[in-house]
């Protein structure tokens, strides 16, 4: 049974939501690009700098130890948030993009050889395409692409047909940043594991919207960004099963990630430090943990249920608009709606909605191959967070209707 969230109180935690743009109340519907930050996250950053700032892990002094404990406590918070087994499985990165690049290098260089294949899908963000293309060009591997159905879901029959003894990795989004489709990642992982193929899940669009349990999914790797889940910019997470992270070589070299260095040879530190060269973002980690604790205080099930209400309300109201075309109509969707109306260019509609105080995203959303598959140049995208309201949806609908009349 889900509990009702007190949205008005929640909105008060986000100072930016009470600002105006062009003398109109801000209606922020670009949450899939980045979410706004609650006070507790910004206060956590301030607290680290004002009260416990010192470089971590190497200091014997009081502050360094305090900072180290805070950073490692943050790692444990991340572990618990995604239900990992051990803190050794949590590597801090700069974000989803860096996490995928890390794997494309560390995993790709170790396990992929000429003629091998990696499976991705048509709906991937460029962050889950380009690193694999770069690996392809270095190693002579092939990329196999899962096509989509008319509803904007992964074609699972086609997926199964792509799996072969050449497949070295499957890497797919948990949730599409354009279509909103929630992919059947558990089923994908089961099918891949049946053939001993590991699976990487790009969770950038999932972690802030639903409970994620990496053990229940049995994901080998799961990656996400802090800034899309109410946390700070510049920090993200690579979860990897310990058995994998143990055997993968480091990605970056430097301080922090070593056990012993001579000019002849370096031995590397244990997990997770092997993958965290240089001074880690011990401010971002603590603030990310603050964001996770904040989300946990409401319960991810409750957040998911409320956002689903928003999605259904917005979808139903948008469908009533003449000439409305929604891209991504899966019954299993996160709170993302990509759309076009008649032949109105997304730039035009986005520019006019902006003047009405409504922030939506326009363009290809870093998913140009998906745009090609849909045979369009771009869409408008409204994406909702749990601080959005039904009144804001009504304002979006009124805004779209007003803009349509201008053409």
């Amino acid at each position: 049974m889900t509990e009702k969230l007190d949205i008005k109180t929640i909105r008060n935690d986000f100072p930016i939501l009470s600002r105006t743009v062009y003398d109109r109340p801000l209606i922020y519907l670009d949450n899939a690009a980045t979410t706004q930050k609650p006070r507790c996250v910004v206060e956590a950053i301030e607290h680290v700098y004002y009260h416990q700032n010192a470089n971590i892990h190497r200091g014997v002094h009081y502050l360094s130890q305090r900072a180290t404990v805070a950073h490692e406590t943050a790692r444990a918070t991340v572990r618990d948030f995604i239900h990992a087994t051990s803190s050794n499985e949590i590597v801090f990165t700069r974000g989803t993009t860096e996490a995928i690049n890390l794997l494309a290098t560390s995993y790709g260089e170790t396990f992929c050889n000429e003629g091998d294949e990696i499976i991705i899908s048509t709906m991937e963000h460029h962050a889950n395409i380009v690193p694999w293309q770069m690996l392809r060009d270095r190693k002579g591997i092939k990329l196999k692409i899962i096509p989509l159905t008319d509803l904007g879901e992964l074609d699972m029959t086609a997926f199964e047909a792509l799996l072969s003894e050449k497949t070295k990795l499957v890497s797919v989004a948990h949730v599409s940043n354009v279509l909103g489709t929630i992919n059947p990642v558990k089923e994908i992982i089961e099918k891949a594991h049946a053939r001993n193929i590991p699976v990487l899940i790009d969770g950038a669009q999932a972690v802030s919207h639903m409970p994620v349990d990496v053990q229940q999914l049995d994901a080998d790797f799961y990656v996400f960004s802090g800034h899309k889940m109410y946390g700070p910019n510049g920090i993200g997470v690579l979860y990897g099963k310990e058995k994998w992270l143990d055997i993968l070589p480091p990605y970056h070299g430097g301080g922090e990630m070593i056990a012993h260095v001579t000019f002849e040879k370096t031995t590397f530190a244990d997990l997770p430090f092997k993958f965290e060269a240089g001074t880690p973002d011990y401010v971002g980690s603590v603030a990310l943990a603050a964001a996770m604790n904040y989300l946990s205080s409401f319960g991810m099930e409750n957040i998911a249920a409320y956002e689903n209400d928003l999605l259904l309300d917005a979808t139903q109201k948008m469908m009533k608009i003449d000439g409305m075309h929604i891209y991504g109509t899966s019954p299993r969707k996160s709170s993302v709606i990509s759309f076009l109306v008649n032949d109105i260019h997304p730039f035009d509609m986005g520019t006019l909605l902006d003047r009405l105080g409504i922030a939506v995203r326009t363009g290809h959303h870093c998913a140009m191959p998906l745009m090609s598959a849909l045979d369009i140049d771009g869409t408008l995208r409204a994406s909702f967070a749990f601080y959005n309201t039904h009144e804001e949806i009504d304002a979006l609908i009124a805004g779209i209707e007003r803009v349509i009349k201008m053409f």
Partner: protein, 139 residues
């Protein structure tokens, strides 16, 4: 009319609109009234690729004056494009090279020429000057 007289005329026309939505409605009208680009001009060679919208710009040079033709896939951009080519068309390369396109700023559309807008307009202004320079050096 000189380039600046044309610019002042546009600034005056826009002063009538106090509400931003009305300004944009006017730009949409201008965009819709811009005659479509001849297919022989609407080619990749004349395409100015923006991340959000695209602009095609072509120019003809006869009897010492330049005539510009342009189009965009977005109507608001097309409206701004129509103002720009009206202002600079049918002038000599020198006149165009020495001009300061202040009207954009004065009618409040400067943000549309910022590099972050990625709508091709900033590149279009540069391209207009490049055409003028190219035709001047041809002489």
């Amino acid at each position: 009319m000189t380039i600046n007289e044309k610019q002042d005329q546009i600034v005056e026309a826009f002063e009538e609109y106090t509400d931003w939505m009305d300004k944009y409605a006017y730009l949409i009208e201008l965009g819709n009234n811009l005659s479509p680009l001849d297919p022989k001009s609407k080619v990749n060679q004349n395409l100015i690729e923006g991340c959000q919208s695209r602009v095609w710009l072509d120019a003809e040079y006869t009897n010492g004056i330049i005539h510009f033709m342009a189009e965009s896939d977005a109507v608001i951009v097309k409206g701004i494009v129509s103002l720009l080519i009206d202002v600079v068309s049918d002038h000599t390369p020198d006149e165009i090279l020495n001009t300061d396109l202040y009207f954009i700023d004065k009618i409040g559309l400067k943000e549309h020429l910022s590099p972050t807008r990625a709508n091709g307009l900033l590149a279009m202004v540069k391209q207009i000057k490049l055409y003028a320079l190219a035709f001047k050096t041809k002489e």
